[in-house]
């Protein structure tokens, strides 16, 4: 039996096409379709149900030291009200999960994790918290629901139903407020689309009311609900990693091109530090590449990548799709650094045929801040 979001009935009423996503029944698209939902998020705004994601509260006197130990990024550069992206890594530098956490105080953080990794992460965090005094991890994933409001109109829409001045919440900051003075809500200026926007969390039993208030507030701003299909094409254009694709227990953050999370100045020891600092300094044998398909067709996750002549296997595709913004076939792949040069031609095997692609700079779509 698939797990259902608290917003399941809303999706059904909106004509959603549901799919199995890591054990959850979730909308891949609504009646409008992926390309329209994608384009509308870039032009106006999209509302995504992300209730499947995991949400933990970590608190107690040992919280800061504990997070410094399990997270690659440097928690000491955060301030209360701030958010940070990071990975949890193994000793060999490969990725357990990628996460966002939000600092209330030095002793209190919210952490949002991937749905498919939630149980693994909880076990991982509990295991490592044992070496720190006074760390309490509470799984709020099911008690709460989460949505993401993304796009250039996101602030105008949200501002019409919250009292806090959203101009004071900068990118990677958050606040606690209320929606329509009735629903307590956590609001963070973060997202996964390459657009300005907000990720919002509230009690699960308020989810339907909150969703409807957002849809209603969005009517004059051309807001459309958007499904996982558009979420994937949007994040891929912006070159945000997807766990199990660009990052995994076989791929490190340096290989995945998210080495900005590794801070040389971080004093604290953390899991994977030795390997990651070494990779940061000396590079890796393989590295992420942006690809544009020259021939017709889409090269998808798992397709083998070869050199231009098709004789030598040099890597694999991690994600591929048709870019609704560029109207081109795009992909990300992990490729041997000897062949991973901008403008180089490579080939990818699709249905026993070799399809030509060109290595291009990442991202395909540059983050678009509020104007």
């Amino acid at each position: 039996m698939l797990k259902q979001s608290p917003l399941n009935d809303e999706h059904a009423a909106l004509g959603a096409k549901m799919i199995d996503f890591g054990g959850w029944s979730l909308p891949v698209q609504y009646s409008t379709g992926i390309i329209e939902e994608h384009t509308n998020t870039r032009l106006n705004a999209g509302l995504f149900d992300i209730s499947h994601m995991g949400e933990f509260m970590i608190s107690g006197g040992g919280t800061f030291d504990f997070l410094q130990y399990v997270c690659v990024n440097d928690v000491s550069i955060m301030k209360p009200g701030g958010a940070q992206y990071s990975t949890l890594c193994l000793e060999n530098g490969a990725v357990v999960d990628d996460v966002f956490y939000y600092q209330y105080t030095r002793d209190s953080f919210k952490i949002i994790v991937n749905a498919a990794n939630k149980d693994k992460d909880l076990a991982w965090l509990n295991k490592h918290s044992a070496r720190f005094k006074d760390v309490t991890i509470v799984d709020q994933s099911e008690r709460r629901a989460r949505v993401s409001l993304q796009g250039p109109k996101a602030q105008d829409i949200l501002q019409s139903i919250v009292p806090v001045d959203l101009n004071t919440i900068k990118r990677f900051q958050f606040t606690e407020t209320t929606i329509k003075k009735a629903i307590p809500a956590f609001i963070a200026r973060t997202g996964y689309t390459g657009e300005d926007g907000f990720e919002i969390s509230f009690e699960a039993d308020k989810a339907t009311t909150a969703w409807r208030l957002l849809i209603e507030a969005g009517k004059s701003f051309k807001l459309l609900p958007a499904g996982l299909g558009a979420r994937d094409t949007l994040r891929l254009e912006a070159c945000y990693s997807l766990y199990g694709h660009e990052i995994s227990e076989n791929i490190t953050p340096v290989e995945a091109g998210i080495e900005f999370i590794i801070k040389k100045a971080k004093q604290a020891d953390y899991i994977g530090k030795k390997v990651l600092l070494d990779q940061l300094e000396h590079g890796t044998r393989r590295k992420i590449a942006g690809l544009k398909v020259i021939d017709k067709g889409i090269i998808r996750n798992g397709a083998e990548i070869f050199d231009e002549t098709g004789s030598k296997n040099i890597g694999f595709v991690t994600s591929g799709t048709f870019s609704p913004t560029l109207k081109e076939s795009i992909a990300l792949g992990i490729i041997d650094v000897d062949y991973n040069k901008i403008d180089a031609t490579v080939t990818a095997k699709v249905r026993e045929k070799l399809v030509k692609a060109r290595i291009v700079p990442r991202p395909f779509y540059t983050y678009h801040p509020r104007q």
Partner: protein, 126 residues
């Protein structure tokens, strides 16, 4: 789900319109809905070549998936719908107008093996 009663169907979600000794082949409304937004159609056999029932006559790529289109009957490939190469979204917008291939029927008995609209609906209803 739109399944016109005037057409014949395959279990692999093609529709077939019999016009004299020509079979016009496309994909069903159900198929386009399952695929999501279609962005490419490719890999057609040459016009004039012979096609065999059940063999691939085109590859469709959507944002989320890839699918094969099979010849619903055997025969000679008379035409492909070149408009679809420029505007593959027609397969989503009007699946029963957006024909993919026309085949000159060489084995008329095969038509009897195609599904009626009711038969097709039964194939994928729970």
């Amino acid at each position: 789900m739109n399944v016109p009663s005037t057409l014949k169907y395959t279990k692999t979600h093609e529709w077939v319109k019999i016009e004299g000794n020509t079979a016009v082949i496309g994909i069903t409304d159900h198929a386009q809905h399952e695929l999501t937004d279609i962005v490419y159609i490719d890999d057609f056999p040459d016009i004039g070549s012979s096609v065999e029932k059940g063999k691939i006559i085109a590859i469709i790529e959507s944002v989320k998936a890839v699918a094969e289109v099979y010849a619903a009957v055997s025969g000679e490939l008379l035409a492909i719908n070149a408009d679809l190469e420029k505007s593959p979204e027609l397969l989503n917008k009007a699946p029963y107008d957006a024909w993919i291939a026309k085949v000159k029927i060489t084995k008329p008995d095969e038509i009897n093996g195609l599904l009626s609209a009711d038969g097709y609906k039964k194939e994928f209803s729970p």
